[in-house]
């Protein structure tokens, strides 16, 4: 098996799998993940090591594209109306997940007599949502409406809250362990966010200005992909959030010139194979063995993260006078969890030698569950809110 053969099979089986699972009304994202599990190392083993090695590069590129496209939803001339709702809902939903998961786990950890700081870090990880799956579900079913609009903005910015929460949680964890509260960690978290916004903003500004030299469609595609890659690479090198900087770049570009929609449009014409491969490789990466290790803590995490998001979004919607249906269904559509949460798990792993592995295992295991179930919940919520035309 060589890598080209493996890549060909990934694309074609993804296509066939999505088509077959459409018969039982599963979203494409779920189909891709299932195909990934099927051809992954545990079952058919059709994915070569080279492809796994390249998958880090690849997933950063895809996340960059997704976050960049999310930036398109923040047109300032249109957004004024909904921004209050977006802020309230995203903060309260993220906070809801953090508080409830932490509270439930603190109680559990106290009863089994282990330190409680892992509970605080785990709660912070629970506040993150994964934009990729949500965006793909919206696209596949051509969802449109108030909930969709809010959702696209909430998934874009709640990673910022999650980063702040995580920084605070890790600082708090350190304070409990070593009895010093390191403000520097919180500042590092803020730096990660503002650094990302700064980089994305500057790059977006420069590239919008330079775009007058782009003539043909081919050049446009090269220019846009090059920008996304450059921005992702720079963010990684400077250790700021890739998602936030890409989103900011998209945000600045969409607001600078009316004709800048072309950058987003040209990406849409090529991104399908990338998304497909991204989710299949994610599926192949899913480690089911870890599910057995998550224990009661994992079950509590899954339950209370979901409850926290649902009621947090509802509360946020009520505070900000968002439409009733949007408030009721938004929380559930925020279920997918992936990279950002895992990133926090990785940080925790190095920050807390004793319980880092435990924290990471729980986040990884619950991510498996949320990755698989999340897209279904997103689709279900959009359907219940009446934003998916009943094509099926």
């Amino acid at each position: 098996m060589n890598s080209l053969l493996s890549a060909g099979l990934i694309l074609l089986l993804g296509f066939v799998g999505a088509r077959l699972l459409k018969l039982i009304r599963l979203p494409n994202v779920t189909a891709f993940l299932l195909v990934g599990i099927l051809i992954g190392p545990h079952i058919l083993n059709l994915v070569t090591p080279d492809i796994f090695t390249a998958s880090e590069f690849f997933s950063n590129l895809v996340l960059g594209i997704i976050a960049f496209s999310l930036g398109e939803n923040f047109r300032l001339d249109k957004i004024r109306v909904g921004m209050k709702q977006v802020m309230w809902i995203s903060i309260v939903a993220a906070l809801g997940a953090w508080v409830l998961v932490s509270a439930a786990l603190i109680i559990y950890f106290v009863t089994i007599e282990i330190p409680i700081y892992p509970a605080i870090v785990l709660g912070a990880a629970a506040s993150a949502t994964a934009p990729a799956a949500t965006v793909l579900v919206i696209r596949e079913y051509r969802a449109s409406g108030m909930l969709t609009e809010l959702l696209l903005k909430v998934v874009a910015i709640d990673d910022a809250w999650c980063l702040i929460f995580a920084a605070m949680a890790i600082a708090a964890g350190n304070a409990m362990r070593a009895e010093v509260f390191q403000m520097s960690i919180v500042f590092a978290g803020l730096g990660e966010i503002f650094g990302a916004l700064l980089i994305g903003g500057i790059l977006g500004y420069i590239s919008s200005r330079l775009s007058k030299f782009v003539r043909t469609r081919e050049e446009l595609l090269i220019y846009t992909l090059g920008l996304v890659l450059f921005n992702v690479g720079l963010s990684i090198a400077l250790e700021v959030s890739v998602l936030l900087s890409s989103m900011m770049m998209g945000l600045v570009m969409v607001n600078m010139a009316r004709e800048n929609y072309k950058f987003f449009e040209v990406l849409r014409s090529v991104d399908t194979p990338l998304y497909l491969a991204f989710f299949i490789i994610s599926g192949a990466h899913l480690d089911f063995g870890i599910l057995y290790k998550m224990g009661i803590a994992g079950i509590l995490y899954v339950t209370f993260r979901t409850i926290g998001k649902v009621y947090g979004a509802k509360l946020g919607a009520r505070i900000s006078d968002a439409p009733e249906a949007a408030g009721r269904w938004l929380g559930l559509s925020l279920a997918p969890q992936a990279g950002v949460a895992l990133g926090i798990g990785l940080v925790a792993k190095t920050a807390f030698p004793e319980y880092g592995d435990y924290i990471f295992t729980i986040i990884a295991a619950t991510s498996v569950i949320f990755e698989l179930v999340g897209p279904l919940l997103t689709k279900y919520s959009l359907m219940r809110a009446g934003e998916i035309a009943s094509t099926e």
């Binding site: 890598s3 080209l4 053969l5 060909g8 694309l11 074609l12 595609l221 090529v270 399908t272 194979p273």
Partner: protein
């Protein structure tokens, strides 16, 4: 396999697939004869001229002549990528352009046959036996590549009934090209020929075949750019000074052979003087196929392998750099840009 290998194999597969679209039965009814004559004669002339000059050079240098035979066969191949890019960039259209795309596509098949013949003859010189099976294997390799391409074409035809959206067309086309390249590498067949055959079958049997080729054109610019930047980054410039008299002879006589061969082929088949005069300029680039021949020569004659390999690599660098300029010149002269 590293990423740069992956990209270059994939891009070559895409180019070969796209070349296949120039071989519909309808087009070949009028163009079939000229394509065969021109491609056989340009590849054959390059082979024979370079071989003769190399033999002369080796005799003067008091070296055995069998490595010269193999070196000459490498001269028959043409690299399609650079020529195709030039055609695309300048939106060249017309009879010379069309014929050029067909000729660059199939002369790799002749190169495979010639190099098998050359290796068999070289063996005959050194061992005193002419290995017919080497030649048979080359025939087999070409036919197997055609059959594999045909099977994949039939599969895509079958799958295409389930393709609804534009995105799915893209996914399926890219997936099948990767599959064709991967399978042919696995089976030790020529990825170029396999993908050309695949493209030919798709162009001829699928009803909306243009959809597949168009889907690729939407996305390929990025890949082409990456491909040529990687080619540039991998060019072994430090080898160029070691090119020597032998390399210079190779460079000159390969091009002379190609241009004369095209002229003669166009004259015999009545393809017209425009094709005869200017098509040859598009056949200068040399790359993977020639390097492949050089590699097998290196394996056969380790003691001369280095000199063969250095010559081919160094001339490839020069051809890659000047080839696009020649191609543009030829197409301009032909009035198709």
């Amino acid at each position: 396999m590293d990423v740069s290998d992956f990209i270059s194999n994939f891009v070559l597969g895409m180019i070969a697939f796209a070349l296949g679209s120039n071989f519909t039965v309808k087009q070949l009814r009028s163009a079939g004869k000229p394509v065969l004559w021109i491609s056989i004669l340009e590849a054959g002339f390059a082979w024979i001229l370079v071989t003769l000059v190399m033999i002369l050079y080796f005799v003067i240098k008091h070296l055995p002549i069998h490595p010269a035979l193999v070196l000459g066969a490498a001269a028959a191949a043409t690299a399609p990528a650079a020529t195709v890019m030039v055609i695309r960039e300048y939106r060249a259209t017309g009879p010379v352009t069309e014929m050029l795309m067909r000729v660059v596509a199939i002369d790799d098949a002749w190169c495979l046959l010639f190099s098998a013949l050359a290796i068999a003859s070289a063996n005959a010189l050194t061992l005193g036996i002419f290995n017919t099976h080497v030649v048979m294997e080359a025939f087999f390799e070409i036919f197997a590549a055609l059959i594999l391409g045909g099977i994949l074409g039939a599969l895509l035809y079958f799958v295409s009934r389930f393709i609804v959206t534009r995105e799915e067309v893209l996914v399926a086309t890219v997936g099948f090209i990767l599959l064709a390249v991967g399978l042919s590498m696995r089976l030790r067949l020529s990825p170029l020929l396999t993908n050309i055959a695949f493209g030919i079958f798709v162009a001829n049997i699928a009803k909306n075949s243009e959809l597949f080729f168009a889907a690729l054109r939407e996305v390929d610019s990025v890949l082409f750019l990456a491909f040529f930047v990687l080619v540039g980054a991998n060019l072994e410039l430090d080898i160029v000074p070691r090119i020597g008299v032998m390399g210079l002879l190779y460079i000159i006589f390969r091009v002379v052979g190609k241009i004369l061969g095209v002229k003669l082929g166009a004259w015999i088949s009545g393809a017209g003087s425009n094709i005869g005069n200017y098509l040859g300029w598009g056949l200068v680039p040399q790359a993977g196929v020639a390097l492949g021949v050089a590699l097998s020569a290196k394996a056969l004659y380790p003691e001369y392998g280095d000199i063969i390999f250095t010559t081919i690599t160094a001339t490839t660098v020069i051809y890659e750099l000047v080839g696009p300029i020649f191609a543009k010149y030829g197409l301009q002269k032909a009035g198709e840009i």
